[in-house]
Symmetry: C2
Subunit: 365 residues, 2 copies
């Protein structure tokens, strides 16, 4: 409990702390602001006085004098996605260890929300920003440039943005998808569904059209689609637009689309899911069709989780290094804040295909 | 793109916006600060000028003049828990609709982190705070009182705190747990495991000791334990300390503890899990023991999810109104900010037992 300060109104000031500690105001300010040199003995006295009076630095005043508020801002697409929750945990653990707090805003994949969130972080005077941006083209990155123009360093996480020359911490989504689809093909599958693809109103009829649609898509989604096509190409399996889900990305639509692919005359015998909701949506479709995996259909998905491991049979899944993605992004940002020259490079971490029991050869025709 | 402002350095000022719009500075300030009356026509001119010049209100300057920063701060135990992710979404949707941004800090169930998070929100001048606090005793709530003392209204969500007379938006955890355990007992079970209980080093031997331990526990956990005991009492089933997991709450320990309860001479035939990680931990133990639900053991858990519904067989789960919990907490807080008198009451929302297929009668002895 703060000591009684008699008639003093309002929170205690630096001057009051200085008087209580018996030091000069500048010494108290340096100690409480965390800048400049203060001898250990005086430092201790100031901190004891601050504690006694219940002084707590006003972060804003501190940031005005030192230029550092010791807060990182994080903008993610959807904090409800366990992937982003893990990334945020990685950012938070690393920042905390280096003396920084983390505040998080979620945009729920809406670019307007992302712009608003960036403005909040600028207004709240964060020292740096880590963002998983929904921006795709050059015309959608003005808010990120605005932060940079105000001297706030920005690091991208999970999603690279082609038009921004910034440090980006990502996984190789294309290679992760290629490896998974290759495993399905190696097991004998030639009819592999892809859930989910670009947000087009209908599936482009050509490979080229599909890639064009993918280039207007989130970077991660586009890369995963490219990995799927790479694996088909390597095996000389022609691309079939009927096997790619396009449009709104919801669990319900994944169920409908997998049901549709299962009802084709030449039905899918395997499905590759690029998100957790696509996996649970696909599993609902299998159940409704009375089909079991891996006997009737093989399945691989993003992202691994505790649930995927306890499914019966357990699911073969791609595990992203979620904590490490966040930790690395925080390290790059904090290094920049501490004076390192931004390298503006892509830091690519490894994902891992966790092989369990959801892949078997296709049923005999 | 902002218009060229010639030699003007730094971001545009309110005066520049006023000049561009051809209005007085006070009119521009009222419009951009969101306070006082401005005619629709002048308002439009100011906003057009602001957009043209690339003006963005400095939230801090705005909060100094209006006292409102239009930001809510949210502190949750673990943003990685889908329950809290849903609550945050509810807060965010409601706040956004009423013109407020939301910044989130996660404490990962560490009270020191919670204190630090509260200080960050005070320093960032949020208008109000919604918190799922890990505080249990009177001695642990100083940080919440500090926020209130600075005129920042606080609403509790998910967890009531006995020593704080504040609005709290919660579910009736005791009743939810009682209903679930009653369902297990009605199916014929008398050996029902409880995963997980209070953080004691060993299970208290008496019902009274257990309740004492529970009162030093998180409010939600304590209430769920009471509901379990209520259901046993109603059915005149004596409490057996061997059937209650105590100690650290991790998936791994849930697996170990359920394995232990399955190996008892008079083994459990049902298990009630109070968290998602307890459910997946229990399922791992069943698999390792070569047991299947509901044939060999019945299972009910908190919280329902997309995964629980696609398990084979699907799990009977308690569904909390996660979005509504957050939305209601935001409504109560925003009403207070807009001048309503805080009612300082407990707002109890309904949970729902989603009956699927993980409960059957116990196997014949």
């Amino acid at each position: 409990m703060p000591a009684d300060r008699g008639q003093a109104a309002g929170p205690p000031t630096i001057s009051e702390v200085a008087a209580e500690a018996g030091v000069g105001r500048a010494t108290a300010a340096r100690t409480l602001g965390g800048y400049g040199y203060v001898s250990p003995e005086l430092r201790e006295r100031v901190l004891a006085a601050a504690e006694k009076l219940g002084y707590r630095a006003n972060a804003l005043a501190r940031s005005m004098s030192t230029g550092v508020s010791h807060t990182l801002g994080v903008i993610v697409a959807d904090i409800g996605n366990p992937f982003f929750a893990g990334v945020v945990r990685g950012i938070s653990d690393t920042s905390r260890a280096r003396g920084f707090d983390t505040i998080v805003l979620s945009t729920y994949e809406d670019l307007d929300e992302e712009v608003a969130a960036t403005n909040v972080l600028i207004d709240k005077r964060v020292d740096g920003v880590i963002i998983a941006s929904a921006a795709v083209d050059r015309g959608e990155v003005a808010h990120i440039r605005a932060a940079m123009d105000r001297g706030i360093p920005v690091v991208l996480v999970d999603r690279a943005v082609a038009s921004l020359d910034l440090d980006a911490v990502v996984i190789d989504n294309r290679e992760a998808a290629r490896e998974a689809v290759e495993m399905l093909i190696a097991a004998g599958h030639r009819r592999v569904g892809f859930v989910w693809g670009p947000p087009a109103s209908e599936a482009p009829a050509t490979r080229r059209g599909l890639l064009a649609a993918a280039s207007r898509n989130l970077w991660t989604d586009g890369e995963r689609l490219r990995g799927y096509l790479d694996a088909l190409d390597d095996a000389r399996i022609p691309f079939d637009p009927e096997l790619v889900m396009v449009g709104r990305k919801t669990e319900e639509r994944a169920t409908q689309e997998v049901a549709r692919m299962l009802a084709l005359p030449d039905r899918i015998t395997a499905v590759f899911c690029t998100e957790t909701d696509a996996v649970t949506g696909a599993l609902r479709a299998l159940r409704a069709a009375g089909l079991s995996y891996p006997r009737d259909i093989a399945l691989i998905g993003f992202d691994d989780s505790a649930w995927a491991a306890v499914m019966e049979p357990p699911l073969t899944m791609i595990e992203q290094p979620v904590h490490r993605l966040g930790a690395k992004a925080a390290e790059v940002l904090l290094d920049t804040l501490e004076g390192a020259e931004p390298r503006r490079e892509r830091h690519t971490l490894r994902s891992r295909l966790i092989v369990r029991a959801s892949v078997a050869p296709p049923p005999e025709a």
